[in-house]
C-alpha cells in the first residue's frame, strides 16, 4: 500500500470542536476544572472563525462554520485529491496557557483526542504531537508519552512562542525529537506572549497573519545561529503554513552577514544557506508567489534545492480555489518530489511505514 503513495499532504487541520470533546481525555481534576472555571474554548485569535482565511467559502457549513469532521475532510480533500497520507496539525490554544500544568494536561488531551477521533478512524491520517513548550520537561514528557504511537510523525510548535526556538532551554525537546525520528514542525501562529511584530502590536488581522513570515525568519536564524543543527544533526524542521518565497532573500541576508560576524557563532561552520538546505523544509500553501509562472520557477531556482518543498493543502484554510492544489509555476518535473519524495525523505516515520 505504502509503496504506491503518490501524494502526501503535510498540513491539514483538525480542530477541537468544543471543550466538551476533550473532557474524556482529561483527568478528573482538569475535567471538573473545565466546568468549575467555566472554560469554553482555548481557540486562539490566530484563525478567527469568520476570517476568510480560516476556511474556504465552499467548504463552510450552512451557518458559515469551518468544516470540522472526518467526513468533510475526506470529501473536500483526501478523496477529492487522492491524498494517500495527510499529517494533521491541531491548532488549539494549548501554547497560549500560562499555567504549565494546565498546558501539559491539555496537550495530552489534544493528542489523545487527535489519535482517537482522527488517526483511529482513517488509516491515511498521521498526527503531530502538540507539546507544552511552556515547560521543556513537560514537553519532553509528552513526546515520550506519544512517541510509541508511530502515527505521530512530528512535534508541533508555533512560529511565535515565548523565546526563540534555538535557545538551549529547548534543546531537550530536539534531542527527544531526534531520538524518536520525529520532525520539528513549526506552524504559523503565536502564543501571544509578545507582540506579533517586533515593532509592537499591529491593528489588523492581516498584519498578524503576514507577520508570521517574519516570525519564521527569526526562528530559522535562531535555530541556525544557536547551533541546533550542529548539536542535533539528524533533526529536520518543517515550516508549516510559513509561506515560501521569503526564504531565498532571507537566506541571502543571513548568509552574507554570517561571513562578517561568524566569529560570534563559530559552530556555524558553513554557510547558513547550506545548513538550511540540509535541515529545513517548507509546505507549499501558502506559497506567496507572483502570478507569473516563470517568476515562480525562478524563485524556486533561487532556493538551489529541489528537496525543500513539501506538498500541503492547508485544508480547510482558504489558500487557493477549485482544485489548484499545486501552486502555479512549480515546475512539472518537481511535482513528484513535492507531492511525495521530499516528504518521505523528511519524515522518517513515513518512510518507515512506506518501506
Amino acid at each position: 500500500m505504502a509503496a504506491s503513495w503518490s501524494t502526501i499532504d503535510c498540513d491539514v487541520h483538525v480542530n477541537v470542536p468544543s471543550m466538551k470533546a476533550l473532557l474524556p481525555h482529561l483527568d478528573e481534576y482538569w475535567r471538573d476544572s473545565v466546568l468549575d472555571r467555566g472554560m469554553n474554548s482555548l481557540d486562539s485569535i490566530s484563525y478567527p472563525p469568520n476570517a476568510p482565511l480560516t476556511a474556504r467559502p465552499d467548504w463552510r457549513g450552512k451557518a458559515g462554520e469551518p468544516p470540522n469532521s472526518l467526513d468533510l475532510l475526506r470529501t473536500h480533500a483526501l478523496d477529492r485529491w487522492n491524498i494517500d497520507v495527510a499529517i494533521c496539525n491541531c491548532l488549539y490554544g494549548v501554547q497560549l496557557l500560562y499555567s504549565e500544568d494546565m498546558a501539559a494536561a491539555f496537550a495530552k488531551a489534544v493528542n489523545d483526542w487527535v489519535a482517537k477521533e482522527w488517526l483511529d478512524r482513517d488509516p491515511r491520517l498521521r498526527g503531530s504531537i502538540v507539546v507544552p513548550m511552556q515547560n521543556t520537561e513537560f514537553a519532553v514528557a509528552e513526546i515520550e508519552r506519544c512517541a510509541g504511537d508511530k502515527r505521530f510523525v512530528q512535534v508541533l510548535v508555533l512560529a511565535m512562542g515565548e523565546a526563540p526556538l534555538g535557545r538551549r532551554q529547548y534543546w531537550p525537546v530536539y534531542a527527544a525529537a531526534e531520538r524518536h525520528g520525529l520532525v520539528l514542525g513549526i506552524h504559523a501562529g503565536s502564543s501571544y506572549r509578545h507582540p506579533v511584530t517586533s515593532l509592537g502590536w499591529p491593528s489588523y488581522y492581516i498584519e498578524d497573519y503576514c507577520a508570521n513570515s517574519q516570525g519564521f525568519q527569526s526562528q530559522v536564524a535562531s535555530l541556525v545561529c544557536e547551533g541546533v543543527f550542529v548539536k542535533y544533526p539528524k533533526l529536520k524542521v518543517v515550516l508549516l503554513e510559513s509561506g515560501v518565497t521569503w526564504l531565498p532573500a532571507f537566506l541571502w541576508r543571513l548568509s552574507k552577514f554570517w561571513r562578517g560576524v561568524r566569529l560570534e557563532v563559530p559552530w556555524v561552520d558553513r554557510s547558513p544557506l547550506e545548513i538550511v538546505r540540509d535541515h529545513v523544509r517548507l509546505t507549499v500553501q501558502p506559497f506567496d508567489g507572483p502570478d507569473d509562472p516563470v517568476a515562480v520557477a525562478k524563485l524556486i531556482d533561487h532556493m538551489q534545492s529541489d528537496d525543500m518543498l513539501l506538498f500541503s493543502s492547508d485544508f480547510p484554510h482558504w489558500q487557493f480555489d477549485g482544485d489548484d492544489i499545486m501552486p502555479a509555476g512549480i515546475p512539472e518535473k518537481l511535482h513528484g518530489r513535492v507531492r511525495r519524495d521530499n516528504a518521505l525523505a523528511t519524515y522518517g516515520r513515513l518512510a518507515e511505514a512506506a518501506a
Binding site: K231, R259, G260, L263, P266, W267
Partner: protein
C-alpha cells in the same frame, strides 16, 4: 616581480604593520611575533584596506558553546565587513577556495647581501651592518 627593501628590521618590530606602495600597488605587511606576512591591501570582497583591519585569532567550535581559540593575531578582519583572512595564506575563512587576498613573499636579508644586489633598493638607504625587510612584489 622584483624584490623591494621596505624597512630596516629594527624599525619594523613585532606587533606592527606597514602599508607600502610598490609601483602603485598597496601592500599590507605585518610582523607577527617576528614573522613577516604581506597581503594585497584590497579586500577581495569590496576593496577595504586590510592593513586597517584588526588582527584576531582563529575561533572554531566542534559544538555550540565550545570555543576553540588558536593562532591569536594571525587572522586579519577587514574593517569594512569583518571578513576574516588568514595572514599565512591570504585565504578567507568563509570561502577559502574562491575568496582570497593576494599574498606576497617577505623575507629578512642582511644589508651586506642587499648591497650586492640584484635587489631594488630604490630610495631606501641600506647599510651593510643592518638587516632589512624585503618584499617580493
Amino acid at each position: 616581480m622584483a624584490k623591494h627593501v621596505i624597512a630596516a628590521l629594527r624599525e619594523f618590530p613585532a606587533g606592527t604593520r606597514k602599508l607600502v606602495d610598490v609601483r602603485g600597488r598597496q601592500i599590507a605587511v605585518f610582523n607577527i611575533k617576528g614573522e613577516f606576512f604581506a597581503l594585497a591591501n584590497r579586500c577581495p570582497h569590496q576593496g577595504g584596506s586590510l592593513c586597517a583591519g584588526r588582527l584576531t585569532g582563529l575561533i572554531e567550535a566542534s559544538e555550540p558553546g565550545q570555543y576553540r581559540y588558536s593562532r591569536r593575531g594571525e587572522i586579519i578582519r577587514c574593517p569594512w565587513h569583518g571578513w576574516e583572512f588568514d595572514v599565512r595564506t591570504g585565504k578567507s575563512w568563509c570561502d577559502p577556495s574562491r575568496v582570497r587576498a593576494r599574498q606576497f613573499a617577505v623575507s629578512v636579508a642582511a644589508g651586506a647581501a642587499l648591497v650586492e644586489g640584484p635587489y631594488v633598493a630604490e630610495t631606501f638607504p641600506v647599510s651593510v651592518e643592518d638587516e632589512y625587510v624585503v618584499l617580493d612584489a
